[in-house]
């Protein structure tokens, strides 16, 4: 296997094009395990962790722009407002301090894992993902991201992830269930991004899930059922019942079905109750 520490996106893309079995490494917290288990057929490893333009995190006007090679701990050192608490919570629950010091937001998306903890919050924030290949540069909405990359991103790299700040009458939350507190791979995760109007009714809603489908995804059916409704206990119940129907259909025949049907009740309720608490404080 050949290895190379790349200095620029252009250089990286040239290598990806010329070496068909090349693979990108940054944090390496998933890939090195894959390589050692011989699950990856790689003959050229290109390290992008030193490319300065991929390591920036900044707020430009009303938008947060995060380079794909920014480790989670560096993102967590950035100051986010209270109503983006779900984003901070999601990133704080990834792996362990050691993993968060190396693992990157780009890597979390690029390997298309259904359990990727940053994905539901990015879906709920309607984030955009910048992708460069040798042939084109494209900005893909998180909603289309997994269809776009399929089983994984080959011959191209994620360059940035960006999302807009949310207004004060909006709140992003995240909850996950794993087998333990640290280093837990999500067994089920939910993120909600709710905007209320002055009558305490849901003006805008994003609901996204992780680990209950092939990829993390938006839950449009729940969104459509509770939009324009007042955010209260009845709506929490309706959301949970709707998600249970979705999970029953999606995971039909799977041994994890009953576990996830119970888990969704806690996870979704936590997100919605935390949102209510925020709106009451406002």
């Amino acid at each position: 296997m050949k290895v190379y520490k790349s200095n620029s996106v252009e250089e990286t893309l040239e290598i990806l094009k010329s070496a068909p079995k090349s693979k990108i490494i940054s944090g390496g917290t998933d890939l090195i395990i894959e390589l050692r288990n011989h699950n990856s057929d790689v003959d050229y490893l290109v390290d992008i962790s030193s490319i300065e333009e991929l390591k920036k995190i900044e707020k430009v006007n009303d938008e947060y722009i995060i380079g794909s090679a920014v480790p989670f701990s560096d993102i967590l050192n950035f100051k986010f407002p209270d109503n983006l608490k779900g984003f901070v919570n999601a990133l704080n629950q990834i792996g362990s301090p050691q993993i968060r010091n190396r693992g990157t937001i780009g890597g979390n998306l690029a390997n298309a894992s259904t359990s990727a903890d940053s994905a539901p919050v990015l879906l709920a924030l309607d984030a955009k993902v910048g992708i460069s290949t040798g042939d084109f540069e494209k900005e893909v909405s998180m909603t289309d991201f997994y269809d776009f990359i399929g089983e994984g991103l080959y011959h191209g790299i994620i360059t940035y992830i960006k999302f807009k700040e949310i207004p004060l009458n909006s709140y992003l939350s995240f909850e996950k269930l794993g087998y333990r507190k640290s280093l837990a791979i999500s067994k089920l995760s939910i993120s909600t991004n709710i905007t209320l109007n002055e009558n305490f009714e849901i003006e805008k809603i994003f609901v996204a899930s992780g680990a209950i489908g092939k990829y993390p995804m938006r839950e449009y059916e729940v969104e459509s059922k509770i939009i324009s409704q007042p955010l209260n206990e009845n709506i929490i119940q309706l959301s949970i019942e709707t998600m249970k129907e979705i999970i029953s259909e999606r995971l039909k025949g799977r041994s994890s079905l009953n576990y996830k049907l119970s888990a969704i009740e806690y996870v979704l309720r936590s997100c919605l109750e935390e949102s209510i608490q925020y709106f009451k404080r406002c």
């Binding site: 290895v3 917290t29 090195i32 490893l45 362990s96 301090p97 050691q98 993993i99 010091n101 280093l183």
Partner: protein
């Protein structure tokens, strides 16, 4: 083979190493720093923890070629000659070492916590060592040791000779 420049425990090295080797292989096999332990090889146990450019990392999950021009601190880099450092003293004092396999990683996790905040809460300590498994102590004495080390550092506790 690739050539690598690296500073480990304040010593500069120029090493030729196999492309497929990880940082842990470089430290243990090439530099004979066997205080770095290999446990799970998957980033779950933290026994291989080292401090890379100021950050606590799992050396089993980093390729050696990635650390060119970097600075690494292992457990061997904490003591000065025959004198162990204040965290190591606190671990002994609190009885936080049993079989010892997790101890080097645990002490480096403690260093990462105390470098940031010399007076961490118990919750911050528990969060800070959450990537390090110990199957002997039940963690309580390790948390006590890190509190004690914090006391040594901020002057509220003194060593028992």
């Amino acid at each position: 083979m690739i050539n690598l420049k690296i500073n480990v425990n304040n010593t500069d090295y120029e090493i030729e190493i196999d492309e497929e080797k990880r940082l842990i292989d470089l430290l243990r096999d090439e530099l004979r720093l066997t205080g770095v332990k290999e446990g799970c090889s998957e980033g779950e146990c933290g026994a291989c923890s080292v401090i890379l450019d100021g950050k606590l990392v799992n050396s089993c999950l980093i390729m050696a070629f990635q650390v060119n021009d970097s600075k690494v601190v292992t457990i061997e880099g904490l003591s000065e000659g025959d004198n162990i450092n204040y965290i190591q003293k606190a671990f002994i004092e609190a009885g936080a070492v049993q079989c010892g396999y997790c101890t080097p990683g645990m002490i480096l996790a403690a260093k990462a916590i105390l470098d940031k905040n010399p007076n961490p809460s118990r919750e911050e300590i528990r969060m800070g060592i959450s990537g390090n498994l110990c199957r002997c102590t039940g963690y309580e004495k390790i948390v006590e040791a890190i509190e004690l080390a914090g006391g040594y550092l901020n002057g509220t506790k003194t060593y028992r000779e």
